[in-house]
Amino acid sequence: MGREVSESCIDSLLIEMVSTYCNRFYANKPELAARRIESIGYQVGHQLSERYTMERPRFSDHLEAIKFICKDFWSELFKKQIDNLKTNHRGTFVLQDNNFRWLTRMSIDQSPENGTSGEAPIIADEKAVESMHLYFPCGIIRGALSNLGIPCAVSADISNLPACSFVVRIKA
């Protein structure tokens, strides 16, 4: 096992990175903030995949590469593998993590009864922040696959929290 840092280091760095781009730099341009956050993830994924595949033969096909992301790559990042992999055999893969680490502490109270003052809840805003946090891991996956020679688009679905599904669409 190589060097480690406390999980709080990466968690708080990500919270602050997202908040910097969404609230300070591009408060009124969420699509620009999203693009920057995704691009930071892309760089990280690209570099990590480079490091983790250095001593490995090239992958023979897309499925092999996707399996590498689900197993070895995910384990390096989250100490667990992707729980479920599905594909339509036409270039779309769905990678589901049943308890995605970076979302486990995110929560808001939706019930109005606990307000200590008359402040109106801003749930919509918080939902937006939550989805902003997904651009980073999507970028990581896209960067990692791109380093393996597989251009693709990645999106995330969190309709089933704390499970998170990443949808990878490989570009023909």
Binding site: T104, I108, N114, T116
Partner: protein, 169 residues
């Protein structure tokens, strides 16, 4: 009972000795006197509106702290009555008891105040409040959707807190 993915949490929760719900309500204030959280489990009587109630509670603690420090017969670091203290300066109190309730109090060096009102027969709750501080760290401070200094509206924190106070004896 496990709250967080396999990590050790300190201090570990004191072992529950009864199952009765002894807790009436809880307040969390920050150092600016903002009531970040008020949670109520069993309070049949309300005499003030919420805002007055919170203000009264904060004022009581503020005065009591400066009073207890002033009365200290041992420690030289007393300060003068009414002169502002640094957080953690001087002695402090951790609970008082009336014939109908007990108030337990913990202030962190970062100025966060935890106040728990329980049945007067409740034992020492200092470890309990420390544990609640750990819950605060996990579910409030580390929650990406929470902005420091704002009111706490975190579902996971409320759930963990409700579940935990039920075990207080």
């Amino acid at each position: 009972m496990q709250f967080f993915g396999g990590s050790e949490i300190s201090p570990s929760p004191p072992v529950p000795t009864a199952t009765a719900n002894n807790a009436h309500m809880m307040y969390i204030f920050n150092r600016n006197g903002v009531c970040l959280l008020y949670r109520e489990w069993n309070r049949p009587l309300h005499t003030l509106n919420a805002q007055q109630d919170h203000k009264l509670m904060f004022g009581l603690l503020f005065s009591l702290k400066s009073l207890t420090a002033k009365m200290d017969p041992i420690n030289a670091e007393k300060g003068n009555l009414g002169i502002p203290q640094l957080p953690g300066q001087g002695c402090s109190f951790h609970s008082f008891r009336t014939n109908t309730y007990k108030l337990s109090f913990m202030e962190t060096p970062s100025g966060i105040k935890f106040i728990l009102i329980t049945n007067p027969r409740t034992g020492d709750l200092r470890e309990t409040l420390k544990y609640i501080y750990n819950l605060y760290v996990e579910y409030v401070a580390k929650n990406a959707l929470y902005t420091p200094g704002t009111l706490i509206r975190c579902e996971l924190f409320n759930t963990a807190l409700d579940q935990y106070v039920r075990s207080i004896a």
